[in-house]
């Protein structure tokens, strides 16, 4: 009876943890199978422990090339989308202008569109223009679909900003540029950083839009897709695991720094 009552009382937590397990399980599988020594071409069944793939992560042809291409595209797409998106976000929050509704829907629609639709229609544009598919078409596409997400992230932060801080800066004879650089930008920075991170993650991990518009260029997700047909090298799992560990460390480190700062900022 005690057990049943305990379960009933903690039902939400139990259900939540089960969902969390469902979400984490594949990551664990990816990690474990990075130490596998598979028989045959596919790395789906466990055979024996091996460090071979970790010792030689670039041992598969084209794998690391595709990885570095993906990182480059993601970096440039992040820069482009963050710059354009931040400008739009400031305009939306701070200014009045015509055609607001139309602009809002133009920003919302890319997020409300199945990726395959955007991918296919962008390809028709590129084909009609006779553009050569490759790095640039992929970059253009990535900036396009990351833009809206950056706008939403930055907008949320700018909206919650206290306008009196900027008024105070102006009262203290700061010029518009100075106010922007010294007050507005630092306060908006977490929103911009969140938008940039999101853009990077979206771009790096994008498959569908890239697959349509890349031509013969192979990004990392496209390499993985191809390997699902040809045979999955263990190195894919190694890179997946390494990126996971690095990202978790970056996030935890960032949180640690943030909480330290918070503690230091508080009066003793």
């Amino acid at each position: 009876m005690v057990v049943i009552r305990w379960i009933r009382r903690n039902l939400v937590v139990i259900a939540g943890l089960l969902t969390l397990a469902y979400m984490i399980l594949p990551n664990i599988v990816v990690m474990v199978f990075s130490f596998n020594n598979p028989k045959g071409r596919f790395n789906y069944a466990w055979q024996e422990f091996s460090l071979d793939a970790w010792k030689d992560p670039c041992g598969v042809a084209d794998l690391c090339g595709s990885l570095s291409l993906s990182l480059q595209i993601a970096a440039w797409a992040t820069v482009g989308a963050t710059a354009l998106g931040t400008m739009i976000a400031f305009a939306l929050v701070r200014y009045r202008f015509r055609a607001r509704g139309a602009i809002n829907s133009l920003i919302f629609l890319p997020m409300a569109m199945p990726e395959v639709v955007m991918a296919a229609s962008l390809l028709t544009l590129f084909l009609n223009m006779g553009a050569e598919l490759g790095f640039w078409t992929v970059l253009i596409a990535h900036i396009m679909f990351c833009l809206s997400f950056v706008v939403t992230a930055v907008k949320a932060r700018v909206m919650s900003m206290d306008p009196r801080l900027e008024e105070a800066a102006r009262d203290l004879y700061a010029g518009p540029v100075q106010t922007f650089l010294r007050v507005t930008l630092p306060i908006a920075a977490p929103g911009i950083a969140a938008g940039a991170l999101l853009a990077f993650a979206l771009s790096f991990d994008d498959f569908i839009i890239t697959n349509f518009n890349a031509g013969s260029t192979v990004t990392f997700p496209m390499f993985v897709w191809g390997s699902a047909q040809r045979g999955t090298p263990v190195q894919i799992n190694v890179i997946g695991t390494a990126m996971f560990v690095i990202a978790v460390l970056v996030v935890l480190g960032g949180q640690l720094i943030a909480s330290r700062r918070k503690n230091n900022a508080q009066p003793q």
Binding site: G16, L17, I88, N128, F204, A228, N237, G240, A247
Partner: protein, 311 residues
């Protein structure tokens, strides 16, 4: 009322001081300069392609001779006639996955918002963490998890779950891979974070005192949830549902990697028509129909639930 519209000499008692005119003209242009590059990008690479796609869908011709606009609307009819199973399947799978995401995601979002305490940030990181590994690699991991004769399938077999699901047509025999269930499982898995994060955001905004007040007014926890928490979390439910259903309906990765030829979704068809068969009009028509269906559903859904400000 703008400054320039005001008659210049009219006595204006207790009005705000007129701004210097030169600065105000320049200032009025600021938002347009800020918007210009980004909006231009979206117009050229998002809106214009839609127009091109619409035009491609009513063209006829061949790759060798080139395509011409002939207002051949028959393509739409043929596309629907040939591929309606894939359309129905896409909507069915995406709908089921969305429902499952809501059922699985709500307790987790609720837990993070109200029960996690000092573990909140850690759990949030864990929710986002899977994103750090490419989703294709993680989807491939489901091939291992659901493998024939693997532990998951064994347990489901022993519990006779697979007998029930086979009878319902979700699985085939003692297999999970290459069945609708595997595809829905993958879709649910892939889009869960998109459900959980908006749910969490709207749950976190709820004032805890409302729960206390409901309790003080003799509401049972279940009633509190039904009458207070759930209605207040509606914005999260709406945007979570959209963020899950829309990408899921166009997805073809899960169907291709975890399914079989009998589980192909409309995304697969569009992809193969475009990239392999090179029948651009059919592909464009299919993509246009998918877009129309999704947009119609989104509009109806948003109208009904009344959450207009999604951006």
């Amino acid at each position: 009322m703008s400054v320039t519209d005001a008659p210049p000499l009219a006595p204006a008692p207790a009005q705000e001081p007129p701004a210097p005119r030169k600065a105000s003209t320049r200032k009025r242009l600021v938002p347009y300069w800020l918007l210009l590059p980004g909006i231009l990008w979206l117009i050229v690479f998002f809106a214009l392609p839609m127009v091109y796609q619409a035009s491609t869908s009513v063209q006829t011709g061949s790759l060798e001779k080139g395509f011409e606009v002939t207002w051949h609307f028959q393509t739409y009819w043929d596309a629907l006639k040939d591929y309606y199973p894939q359309f129905v399947r896409s909507l069915l799978y995406a709908g089921t996955a969305t429902l499952l995401c809501l059922l699985l995601g709500y307790p987790l979002a609720y837990m993070i918002a109200f029960k996690a305490g000092r573990w909140r940030n850690l759990v949030l990181v864990l929710v986002i963490a899977p994103f750090f590994t490419s989703f294709l690699i993680r989807t491939l991991a489901w091939k291992t998890i659901l493998a024939d004769g693997g532990p998951v399938v064994d347990v489901l077999n022993t519990l006779h779950v697979l007998d029930v699901t086979s009878w319902l047509g979700w699985t085939e025999g003692s297999r999970v891979l290459a069945t609708p269930m595997a595809v829905v499982c993958g879709l649910t898995y892939n889009f869960l974070p998109f459900m959980i994060l908006p749910l969490y955001t709207s749950l976190e905004r709820i004032d805890g005192r409302l729960h206390e007040a409901a309790g003080d007014l003799y509401a049972t926890p279940a009633t509190t949830f039904r009458k207070v928490t759930f209605p207040l979390s509606m914005p999260g439910v709406v945007s979570g549902t959209l963020l899950t259903f829309i990408p899921a309906s166009g997805d073809y990765v899960n169907a291709e990697l975890l399914g079989s030829t009998d589980t192909k979704m409309v995304g697969s068809v569009i992809q193969s028509q475009f990239l392999r068969v090179l029948d651009y009009p059919t592909a464009a028509a299919l993509s246009f129909i998918l877009m129309a269906i999704v947009l119609a559903m989104v509009t109806v859904y948003i109208r009904k639930s009344g959450t207009e400000d999604l951006v």
